[in-house]
């Protein structure tokens, strides 16, 4: 529907082709979406509640699969991968940030950041986690438990965690939805830097104009379809 344009010739990290997603109840959340997400680019998905943003993010994050069409993450067709390969894919290529419920309440900030590395059995996990925590300027809160952090701080810890394993793709679902403007700005800056410094392909669903403003590409969705793409 929309011609593929990639002027900077950045590598495509996620490719969505004619993706249709019909949920079990018969709801058509996506109705033929084709879209590419390139390295170092922030793409914002905007649109009304229920238009299918989260659904599309889940497809990009290999957490869900299209009913028809295909999604390629890091060049691999997600619907063809087994559980083991999907887990490996998530461990190596994808980082997630959500609106609510970001951190495991029983773990400290540092442990939360370290968790993906622990799960994949990486070495020197603690040092790397500490370094990422410094990157989001929260090394002083390493031992704090989530309930001792503000919403903005939690979100920054979450971003540190999403980037701890140098993912090629960062999936963010309304990362500022629950934050005041100041904290939201800090979080958006980090997301921007994730694209610029880490070269991650950032896919972000948002309702906020500020968030949309930092994006390179704004995709407007409506009823499971792409309404417009704005660069």
């Amino acid at each position: 529907m929309f011609p593929q344009q990639n002027p900077q010739e950045k590598p495509i990290r996620v490719a969505v082709r004619r993706a249709v997603k019909t949920y079990e109840g018969g709801v058509e959340a996506l109705r033929g979406v084709t879209l590419d997400f390139a390295a170092g680019t922030v793409t914002a998905l905007v649109g009304r509640s229920g238009c299918g943003k989260t659904t599309l993010l889940n497809l990009c994050g290999a957490m869900d699969f299209p009913t028809s069409g295909e999604v390629l993450v890091a060049g691999r067709r997600t619907s063809e991968l087994g559980d083991r390969e999907l887990t490996a894919l998530r461990r190596e290529e994808i980082g997630f940030v959500f609106q609510f419920f970001q951190l495991l309440p029983s773990l400290t900030a540092l442990e939360n950041v370290e968790l993906p590395l622990l799960l994949s059995g990486a070495r020197k996990s603690e040092a790397i986690a500490r370094e990422r925590l410094r990157w989001v300027e929260l090394e002083g809160k390493a031992e704090a438990l989530p309930f001792q952090l503000s919403g903005g701080q939690m979100q920054r810890v979450a971003i540190a965690r999403a980037l701890v394993h140098d993912p090629k793709i960062l999936v963010a679902d309304e990362p500022t939805g629950n934050l005041d403007t100041a904290s939201g700005d800090a979080v958006l800056k980090l997301i921007r830097r994730a694209a610029d410094e880490f070269g991650a392909a950032v896919v972000m669903a948002t309702h906020s104009a500020e968030a949309a403003a930092i994006a390179d590409i704004r995709v407007r969705m409506r009823d499971g379809q792409i309404e417009s793409v704005e660069r």
Binding site: L104, L119, G121
Partner: protein, 834 residues
């Protein structure tokens, strides 16, 4: 009502698995309580002699230690009373080729049975009536013959009739034939008194007492059953208390279930409150949920308990027969009263366990409805205060153990047990936090992310975790406590047997080997044994059951000189040699520890014991350790007994070989004795056989105990499964999140299994500590006060270690379903819902 349906029933259905687990826990708890009650009733409810079948309902029984003199029948019959007096003999007897049974000797003519065709007058001496139970066992029918064997005479009887509907084995013969067969000329076991209509029982009783010697007992048959029941009371109480442990464990689990559903439905409760439900309404809702679980669980439990009762009845009656008295188990009967009590107990336990969480629900503010994120279970725990209370409870337990029994029962000991459990419950939160804190580094190293999260989330949901740990620990502690108690007891008994059973060969008359039954043997037997080559000392023993201050005990008389030389009896105090040497030729006796404890007897005191028509004053020379039964023994020298009861038959013989004889000689002598004594119905057993038999009886006695513990452990394991499932459901989003972060399904599974393992470990450690404390209470307070035994502390370490590992494995197994459930959760769904 509609709200109730929507808010209680719907989630109830949703959490079906968890509700089912809770239901099963209550059902099992109630079932165990019911089963113990029913089986106990059935085992004790059948003391009434089957003689009533033959003779009708008896009003009074005249009995005496050492037997009743037959001549009193005539004296009694001369009384101006509207009453009938029937002589009766009730003795064990050997059936040639058919084991043994009870023989009843009755006055057939007086009972009018010759007229009803049950006996024929012309063949009175050789007619018999069989109980249907015995007839079935022997496959005998009317007209067949049956050969009975007395101490030195064998007699064949014709089966004249069969008494239908009998569930015990017996054979009835004419009184004269019985006296002949059993060598009881002029003697009776009792005189049965039947009052005519209109006769005043009180007056008749007084009149009878005036005729018979003062040492005779004149009692209603009910009194005898009552005596037996009293004797069993301590035994039943201990079982009962043990059975309530499962219910207690169930109570912890109800508490947990309701607490979980309160947390889970906080938002719903908030909405309810916002739209105008009173906090009272919310309280009632949750109490309603608990009561529903309680009623359903109890009903299930009653059915299950009825089945269980039938299964354990055999075990209980074995114990009753081996240790207390002869009784045939009755039928298991479920009375309306029991049903009501069971339902009330189950529902009450459910209701009261739900009270605290339900009150918490009632306190939820309407504003909670607006909260986006439902808070984690609020750990309103004040660890410091709880620890102080725990210390207080523990101290109370220690203090309570210092007092004696109340009404012959270790009531304060039981309360101390409860205090110890309460102390454990209070310590539990601090314990969980402490141990997991200590394991922090190790967990992460050993189990990686799974270990890290597992440990942490147990601490985060501390209130819940500590309840489950307490429930499991209580069940485990019971296992440990009883394990240590039984192990120590067993070791003590074994050491005692070692010193007690020093003879090489033991002989007793053939017959049922139940407590309180001492079949007599022929008077010629000791002489034959003494004349056998290779035999050294022959200890001749006369034992019989006697009444003392309303309870039963065993009176025994042996050759104390041989006992002194050959056995090593241990006394509470004093020199064994001196004490035993002081007995022959004197009115002196030694008593067993349980007897001394029961009757508060001290050395030097004088016992007045009715023997035959006389009352004999015996000075207590010493108190000896004994574990044969809890009714106790009074022992004198044989000469002393025979002075008062010259006709008392020999019941047991211990044969000591010449010093220096080995196993080969023992076997030779045993075979020799078997040939020489072939004409007498005797059991001849070498030392090892007797010793093994004694330990077998012991082990069988505690089989029920193990079964009860098993159920408590099962209940607790179900509780662990339940709690883990709740933890999983509560942390659905957390689990979804870690899947997003790259956790494989296997890692999620491992995380939950690690939690299960941690729960098991915590409960195991706490249970071991509590159990050890409880075992001390059981050994030094409860057992001592109920049975009067001194038990040496000997924990069976290996067995306990094995059992603990097994329980631990069970707990991990209990985590399998929740773990699989967690691994199957769809992350995309759980993270975004709510």
């Amino acid at each position: 009502m509609k709200l109730f349906r929507q808010l209680i029933l719907r989630p109830f259905r949703g959490d079906l698995t968890r509700s089912l687990l809770t239901l099963i826990s209550i059902a099992l708890g109630v079932a165990v309580v019911i089963a113990i009650e029913l089986a106990g009733d059935a085992a004790t409810g059948s003391f009434e002699s089957s003689l009533t079948t033959l003779l009708g309902k008896v009003d009074y029984e005249v009995t005496a230690n050492g037997g009743v003199d037959e001549t009193y029948i005539a004296a009694l019959a001369a009384l101006p009373l509207n009453a009938r007096f029937a002589p009766a003999i009730e003795q064990p007897v050997v059936i040639v080729g058919g084991g043994s049974t009870t023989v009843y000797g009755i006055d057939v003519i007086a009972a009018g049975m010759n007229e009803t065709g049950e006996f024929s007058t012309d063949k009175l001496e050789t007619s018999a009536v069989l109980s249907s139970d015995l007839a079935a066992r022997l496959e005998a029918k009317k007209g067949d013959s049956i050969t009975l064997r007395g101490p030195h005479r064998t007699q064949t009887f014709a089966v004249q009739s069969i008494a239908e509907g009998q569930d015990t084995g017996w054979v009835g013969i004419d009184i004269a034939a019985a006296q002949d067969l059993l060598d009881m000329h002029g003697k009776l076991d009792r005189i049965e008194v039947f009052l005519g209509t209109g006769e005043d029982p009180g007056r008749a009783g007084e009149a009878i007492k005036k005729i018979v010697p003062r040492t005779y007992d004149v009692e209603t048959p009910g009194a005898r059953s009552e005596q037996n029941r009293r004797m069993l009371r301590a035994f039943r109480w201990n079982l009962r208390i043990l059975s309530y442990i499962s219910l207690l464990v169930g109570a912890f689990l109800i508490y947990n279930t309701i607490a979980v559903s309160v947390v889970r439905r906080r938002t719903e409760i908030g909405i309810l409150r916002a739209i105008g439900t009173s906090s009272r309404g919310v309280l009632l809702m949750f109490l309603g949920e608990a009561s529903m679980l309680g009623v359903l669980g109890s009903v299930l439990g009653i059915g299950l308990g009825r089945l269980l009762a039938a299964a354990i009845l055999g075990m209980i009656s074995d114990t009753v027969n081996a240790l207390f008295t002869t009784s045939a188990p009755g039928a298991v009967e479920l009375s309306a009263g029991t049903v009501v009590i069971a339902i009330c107990t189950g529902t009450g336990v459910a209701f009261f366990s739900a009270l605290i969480p339900a009150r918490e629900a009632a306190r939820v503010a309407p504003a909670e409805a607006m909260r986006r994120e439902s808070r984690e279970h609020e750990t309103r725990l004040r660890v410091g205060r709880d620890l102080t209370l725990a210390v207080a409870a523990a101290l109370a337990a220690v203090v309570l153990c210092q007092f004696g029994p109340i009404g012959g029962r270790p009531v304060l000991g039981y309360v101390a047990t409860l205090c110890a459990v309460v102390a454990t419950a209070l310590v539990s939160p601090a314990f969980v936090t402490g141990v997991i804190g200590a394991l922090r580094g190790t967990l992460k190293k050993v189990a990686g992310a799974a270990g890290l999260i597992a440990g942490r989330s147990l601490v985060t949901s501390l209130a819940r975790t500590s309840i489950v740990v307490t429930a499991l620990a209580t069940a485990i502690s019971m296992m440990v406590a009883v394990g240590i108690m039984v192990g120590s007891f067993r070791e003590t008994v074994q050491v005692w047997l070692e010193s007690q059973l020093r003879a090489d060969i033991y002989l007793r008359a053939a017959g049922p080997a139940s407590a309180g039954i001492y079949p007599p043997m022929d008077a010629a037997v000791p002489g034959i044994i003494r004349a056998t080559p290779g035999v050294g000392d022959v200890d001749v023993f006369h034992a019989f059951q006697f009444h003392y201050k309303g309870t039963q005990a065993t009176f025994g008389a042996g050759i104390m000189d041989i006992v002194r030389r050959r056995r090593s009896m241990r006394f509470l105090s004093g020199d064994s040699n001196e004490i035993l040497a002081s007995l022959p030729g004197q009115d002196r006796a030694i008593v067993s520890e349980p007897f001394a404890n029961k009757h508060h007897v001290r050395a030097g005191q004088i016992l007045r014991i009715p023997l035959g028509a006389r009352e004999v004053a015996l000075t207590v020379a010493g108190i000896y350790y004994d574990y044969a039964n809890d009714k106790g023994f009074v022992l004198t020298d044989r000469g002393t007994l025979l002075r008062y009861l010259p006709d008392q038959p020999v019941t047991n013989i211990a044969v000591y070989l010449r010093p220096g004889a080995g196993a080969r000689e023992a076997e030779q002598v045993r075979r020799d004795l078997e040939t020489r004594l072939a004409e007498f119905p005797l059991n001849i057993a070498p030392n090892e056989v007797l010793r093994r038999g004694a330990i077998q009886v012991f082990d069988r006695t505690f089989a029920v105990t193990y079964a009860l513990e098993g159920v408590a452990i099962i209940v607790a394991t179900l509780g662990a499964a339940n709690a883990l499932l709740a933890l999983v459901l509560d942390r659905r989003r957390e689990i979804g999140l870690i899947r997003y972060l790259g956790a494989a399904k296997g890692q999620v599974r491992n995380m939950i299994l690690t939690e299960a393992a941690l729960l098991g470990l915590l409960a195991g450690l706490l249970g071991l500590a509590l159990g050890t404390a409880l075992s001390l209470v059981l050994i030094y307070v409860v057992n001592k006060q109920s049975f009067g035994w001194t038990i040496q502390f000997h924990p069976p370490a290996l067995l306990l270690g094995g059992a603990l590992l097994l329980v631990w494995a069970f707990t991990v197994l209990a985590g399998v379903y929740p773990a699989r459930f967690a691994a199957k959760l769809e992350p995309a769904e759980v993270v975004h819902t709510e």
